[in-house]
């Protein structure tokens, strides 16, 4: 046990590291970033807290407090479980320290135990930032006693462990079964399919829940009671944790702990049997050893401009590195598939509403002003989603890792290198945002008689928003780049961007739901407003672009 904890502390130190690269730095940028993140987090925490209070009020009237707590913890466990599978594959198998650890005198249980602690560490972000405020809000609303608060603390500590143990077991079985595919590249495809599958499952469940809105709340509650009763056995610690908080049952503390310990024993037992077989040879990569043909030589040795060549190099690296692929590509490029597939499946099996929601929305829009307002919030939501949750720009420098010195040795100006890295991010985020929005525009214009002017406006505003956000993300990535990392996942840290996205998403949803209309405040025609708005966006984009180059070049010179 001591060896496991010692190893976990070393792995955590390696993956969290200070990342300090500039000895002459006067201000600790990391502290400023953390502070900024904390400030950004406050509104989210407040909203979650108020949601907790609101849920308590609503469900106490229906005597469904226990049920909602169960449902909440079950949902949190489910999210941790899904996220955990990728996290475990990454930590257990794709980490660059694997080959070093395998030759050291550690048992597979010690290695997996330590890596489990590292993976759990990241899951505690969900526990602290999401579950914590909700439970505290709920307890505050209830005027809860001491045992509730003890239960809350225990829940925050224990809840991620069981779903993560499941994730780790599934990850190990996947890697064991795929014994013939022992290389990171093939895992890329697997990761992609897994994530899309999980997203579809989530989306289908979401659609089913939306259908339940047709019936009365009591009926929904009955349905939920049955459903929660039926499925919470998947996470057997959840009823005990709820009993501590709501049922004030001290004995449940023991049961919860025993459940977690049992899960850990099973996990370590499975690890002992399957981990090494999946891990050995993981770092190997297949090679064809085929000589290039004369045509291939001709094609590959064609001269290109350095910015284009550098951009291609960046994109190829991202496409071929599983961690970057998952963080930078899948969601950004795959979101329409993820959103539309359940609809397509429902239509195919004849139970769907044949895209009636599109008609409902467009029928609702009768005036260009309303359409503009709706479009604005959708554009902001989609593009902030595609850029802020994409790791390309913020990790542009960190991805170089210890090969960063090559950036300094190449006879290519820093401005051109930054431009190439920015362009690579623009290609991905632009495709995910601007291109998809333009395609959606075409559909709505052709099929749903949307005015033609929406097309150029959508493209222009989307492009400006993507451009501004990518530049801002590049600047954030330059502030404290992380060049010494243990695994590629450490190069991609997007906590601040994630929180910023949640804030923008909340505002966008509220804007959409409430139809916040700027013309209520400014009495000008929507057309003048659109023109002025685009002009302002372009000016902002140009200014931020200049700032990015000025700061970026200076920063690279200093590093």
């Amino acid at each position: 046990m001591g060896k496991t904890i010692r190893l976990a502390s070393v792995l955590l130190k390696c993956s969290l590291g200070s990342g300090k690269t500039d000895e002459t730095h006067k201000i600790d940028a990391k502290k400023i970033l953390n502070l900024l993140m904390l400030i950004l987090l406050i509104p989210v925490i407040v909203i979650l807290f108020r949601t907790g209070v609101g849920a308590q009020e609503l469900f106490s009237a229906l005597e469904g407090e226990e049920l909602i707590l169960r449902a909440l913890l079950f949902l949190a466990s489910l999210i941790i479980f899904v996220v955990g599978i990728f996290s475990c594959i990454n930590t257990f198998y794709l980490s660059s320290n694997l080959d070093c650890l395998l030759v050291m005198p550690f048992t597979s249980a010690q290695i997996t135990g330590a890596k489990f602690i590292v993976a759990a560490f990241y899951e505690y972000y969900i526990s602290i930032a999401v579950i914590g405020p909700l439970l505290i809000g709920f307890g505050y609303g209830e005027g809860a006693g001491l045992l509730y608060w003890i239960g809350t603390v225990l829940t925050m500590i224990l809840l991620p462990l069981l779903p993560l143990a499941y994730s780790a077991i599934i990850a190990m079985i996947i890697m064991r079964v795929l014994g013939g595919a022992k290389n990171k590249q093939r895992m890329t495809a697997l990761g992609a399919f897994g994530l899309i599958f999980a997203s579809i499952a989530y989306s289908v469940i979401g659609t089913s829940f939306r259908n339940l809105k047709q019936v009365q709340l009591e009926q929904v509650l009955d349905h939920m009671i049955q459903m929660v009763k039926n499925i919470t056995w998947i996470f057997p610690d959840v009823p005990f944790l709820v009993n501590i908080m709501h049922g004030q049952d001290v004995l449940s503390i023991v049961f919860a702990l025993v459940t977690i310990i049992a899960a850990m024993v099973v996990f370590l037992g499975v690890a002992k049997i399957v981990y090494l077989a999946g891990a050995i040879g993981m770092q190997e990569t297949s090679a064809s050893h085929k000589e290039l043909s004369a045509e291939q030589m001709e094609k590959y040795s064609r001269q290109r401009g350095i910015v284009a060549s550098y951009t291609r190099k960046e994109l190829k690296t991202v496409f071929r590195t599983p961690t970057y692929y998952i963080s930078c590509l899948i969601i950004t490029l795959g979101w329409p598939v993820i959103l539309l597939l359940p609809q397509v499946i429902e239509n195919a099996i004849g139970t769907g509403n044949k895209m009636e929601w599109v008609g409902a929305i467009t029928n609702h829009i009768t005036e260009p002003e309303t359409l503009f307002v709706m479009l604005f919030w959708v554009i902001l939501l989609v593009n902030s989603f595609c850029t802020l949750l994409n790791g390309m720009a913020p990790s542009a420098i960190s991805r170089e890792g210890q090969s960063f010195f090559i950036m300094k040795q190449l006879p290519v100006s820093y401005k051109n290198q930054l431009k190439a890295k920015r362009n690579a991010a623009l290609v991905i985020c632009g495709t995910g945002g601007v291109l998809y929005m333009a395609l959606a525009d075409v559909y709505f214009i052709v099929a749903k008689d949307l005015p033609l002017w929406t097309m150029p406006m959508t493209i222009l505003v989307s492009a400006c928003i993507v451009f501004i956000m990518v530049d801002l993300q590049m600047i954030v990535g330059l502030i404290k780049p992380r060049l010494e990392w243990d695994s590629e996942a450490d190069a991609i840290k997007m906590r601040a961007a994630f929180i910023l996205f949640i804030i923008i998403a909340l505002f966008s949803f509220m804007g959409l739901v409430l139809e916040w209309n700027p013309f209520d405040f400014i009495e000008i025609s929507p057309w003048v407003f659109i023109g002025g708005f685009c002009l302002v966006l372009i000016v902002i984009a140009v200014i931020i672009d200049r700032c990015f180059y000025l700061y970026g070049v200076k920063k690279l010179e200093k590093m």
């Binding site: 090679a287 000589e291 590959y300 060549s309 190099k313 190829k316 090559i406």
Partner: protein
């Protein structure tokens, strides 16, 4: 030619990594850069190649100052690092092509270079594979090719023989000799004194950031007539070698 003029580099307030060194790497010669771990070799090479800026002094690559005119200076040299684990997700061919674009090498020239050096190093069948799949030695070979793709007049190599098989090592030594014989300069760092003894026209020995010896091997041996081997002379000059 590399001219290092009164160069000093400090880390923090107290740690002097390189202390007011002045020396040159002449054209038409192979210069070996030798010193124990932590003596200041890597720091010096990083300053020469533009990764670090000297606190004092200047460095010229041919006629270009690496600090004042970095892009021109960087076009003059090819650098082979001691860590070949770079660009791992590109194929060998993609990496070489990227380097060709970075150094503005015309397509026809780079194609001829890749074909010729690929055969010379025996990696022509692996250029279509990812560098990640290469052995350490193969990675080193492709990095050497990338560094030399623009036919630089100055070669700077940091422990270039590490991981190379005897054939490739022999080939590289031959290339270094040919390059120097054509009137151009080679600077390489090594810990293997036998290699330095057989290959170098000049040696520079550094210890604790200061140049302890600079000159030809004959001059070095003449300075220490009592010592029978380069190893003994090296130990005499660098003390116990525990500089770090």
């Amino acid at each position: 030619m590399i001219t290092i003029n009164q160069v000093t580099k400090k880390f923090g307030k107290d740690k002097i990594a390189v202390n007011n060194t002045t020396w040159t790497v002449p054209d038409g010669a192979i210069t070996g850069f030798i010193g124990p771990n932590g003596a200041g070799k890597s720091t010096t090479l990083k300053m020469v190649t533009g990764v670090l800026k000297p606190d004092e002094g200047s460095i010229q690559i041919n006629d270009a100052d690496i600090t004042k005119n970095p892009l021109k200076a960087k076009m003059q040299f090819g650098f082979v690092s001691d860590t070949p684990d770079n660009f791992l997700h590109l194929t060998g061919m993609e990496y070489l092509n990227f380097m060709g674009d970075a150094y503005k090498v015309p397509g026809k020239v780079r194609k001829e270079f890749i074909e010729s050096y690929g055969k010379r190093f025996g990696i022509e069948k692996s250029l279509g594979d990812k560098i990640l799949s290469y052995s350490h030695g193969m990675r080193q070979k492709v990095m050497i090719m990338g560094a030399l793709i623009h036919s630089p007049s100055v070669w700077i190599l940091d422990e270039p023989m590490t991981g190379l098989d005897p054939q490739a090592s022999h080939e590289l030594k031959l290339m270094m000799k040919e390059h120097a014989a054509s009137g151009k300069s080679v600077l390489f760092s090594t810990h293997v004194l036998e290699v330095a003894e057989k290959l170098c026209d000049n040696v520079v020995i550094i210890r604790k950031g200061e140049i302890k010896f600079l000159g030809s091997l004959d001059e070095l041996k003449a300075k220490f007539p009592a010592e029978t081997s380069l190893e003994n002379i090296f130990l005499e000059l660098t003390g116990d070698g525990k500089d770090n």
